[in-house]
């Protein structure tokens, strides 16, 4: 019988630990598919941040390095400089990449480190139990913004994909979502493009993935997906904000 659908080869035969309705699993899968697509499983090194994504090495059969919270892109810089022949990617959440690790993120991007970054934006700290993140939306209630995020008190959510697109070192910056088949197709393309950029040596590639967190949003999975569409996407628009071509760097 012809297989019409199968698990990506780079994923191990292990069940994800993620909560029902969480989109980390989907994000893992499309990254794994892209790795299979380029046949780079043996060349890849995953640098994993602290957060719900920390167990990525339990699911991906790739060499993996755990970074301290926020330091993923400093660690990835060290790996890539030491082993430029390897494909280096980070997988980081919003607290990790956009709060405690903002300096490391911006400077690695600005240096044009030739690595790929997958950034999970779910507007909360997931692993620690739903505290306010730098991406938490205005009015959003979290365990540390019990009155709702207010800009006079907590400031505005950060749009990372747009911000990084302004830096010369960035080759690719996009924001995607995983809620509809169309969004998923776009997300797969963007993730592939990020690896492609690195393989071609074009510089820093960044994909922001909007992701549902039903547990910390106190929602049913379907409600959570609706929230991504109705509340997140209007503030965090989907699209490609920067795309460098080979001819641009010649």
């Amino acid at each position: 019988m012809k297989a019409v659908y199968k698990k990506p080869d780079v994923l191990k035969n292990v069940n994800f630990h993620f909560c029902p309705g969480c989109q980390h699993g989907l994000a893992h899968k499309i990254i794994a598919e892209a790795i299979d697509n380029f046949g780079i499983g043996d060349r890849s090194i995953a640098v994993i941040g602290v957060g719900c994504g920390v167990f990525l090495y339990d699911y991906f059969d790739v060499d993996s390095l755990e970074a301290p919270h926020g330091r993923g892109l400093a660690v990835a810089t060290g790996v890539k400089r030491a082993r430029p022949e390897r494909i280096v990617f980070t997988y980081q959440g919003d607290g990790d990449l956009a709060s405690i690790g903002l300096a490391e993120t911006v400077h690695a991007a600005n240096r044009g480190e030739n690595v790929s970054v997958f950034f999970i934006n779910n507007t909360v700290y997931g692993m620690t139990g739903g505290q306010m993140a730098p991406t938490t939306l205005l009015g959003q209630i979290t365990t540390t913004s019990p009155y709702g995020r207010e800009f006079q008190r907590e400031g505005y959510p950060i749009r990372m994909a747009e911000m990084l697109a302004t830096l010369e070192g960035v080759a690719f910056s996009a924001r995607v979502a995983l809620c509809t088949p169309k969004q998923l197709m776009e997300a797969k393309k963007a993730v592939k493009k990020a690896f492609q950029m690195q393989i071609e040596g074009l510089g820093f590639s960044f994909v922001e993935i909007l992701s549902a967190c039903p547990t910390n949003w106190n929602m049913q999975p379907l409600e959570a997906i609706k929230r991504v569409e109705d509340e997140m996407i209007p503030f965090f628009p989907l699209g490609i904000f920067k795309e460098r071509r080979v001819s641009d760097v010649l």
């Binding site: 060349r43 390095l65 660690v75 060290g78 790996v79 030491a82 022949e85 490391e104």
Partner: protein, 350 residues
Amino acid sequence: MENLFLRGSEALALGAIDASVKFYAGYPITPQNDIPEFLSRELPKVGGKFVQAESEVAAINMLLGASACGIRVMTSSSSPGISLMQEGISYLAGSELPAVIVNVMRWGPGLGGIGASQGDYHQATKGGGHGDYFVPVFAPYSAQEMYDLIVKAFDVADEYRTPTMLLVDVMISLMKERVIRRYQKGKNVKKKSWAFGSIKEGEQKIIKSLYLKGNDLEKHNWKLYEKYKTMCKKEVMYESYMCDDAEIVLVGFGMVARIGKSAIDIARERNIKAGLFRPISLVPFPEKELEAISEKCKNFLVVEMNTGQMIHDIQRVLGKDINIAFYGKPSSYAPTPEELFSKIKEQIKR
């Protein structure tokens, strides 16, 4: 073997290159900038990589990434910068990754000052970052030792898979003197089977410090402790100068020991039986060797450029029956040999 006339900082950087360092990341801070300046110029010539990081926090984590790839890595900084690196040092220890960290000490707390200080003894020897681990620490007292001990630090870091520190006095770093370039280049560099190679070799490699299952963490911490116990047996370094018949022994490390030696010479010229004991490895501390001296000599004078830090280790080792005096200089002005000699005389009269 070349005979050179070098500043301590240059001797250290040259030693690092002879020890085959292949990656340096750091952030500018006084008074250690001549080390990154030297390496930014020299490392690319030997196929090494130099990165000026956006902060000390980033620098130490760049080391973590590069070290996981099996190459020799180092950074240098000064006290406030070393404080920022402590998180990364803890992760290096937990992930069992070798790295060499050089601290050319200046004053604290806070911004403190940029003069000579030994204020970081506690931070260096008693942990520094969070968690249950030891970092081997060596304290050079000459330009030659800056060269020799950086080489030693790389070997120890690899042997025990641990971050290793050089605790340096700024005067040693800036003083220019004779250095014999005596290390055979890259002699002890071995392939690291645990590190990421240029391609995935067989089983997936995971380098991490997170242990959540069962008693994995307890086992891990005991394993780190066993490494420390082995270091205590194999890596102790010290110098004992005229201690055999000494009636008083001055104890100091780094710059203080260098000055102390002149004070001992003054004392001996005046027929005062004084000696000097100098720990070179601060971790592991030369406990047995110090204890052995105390079997004959009951009078000790501990001198430090702080308000008293190493003295706690001396008191712990020697116990209450030994007469231990302390002379501290928590300022940028190092004691003179005459000043130390007068302290030796005072202590003898007691």
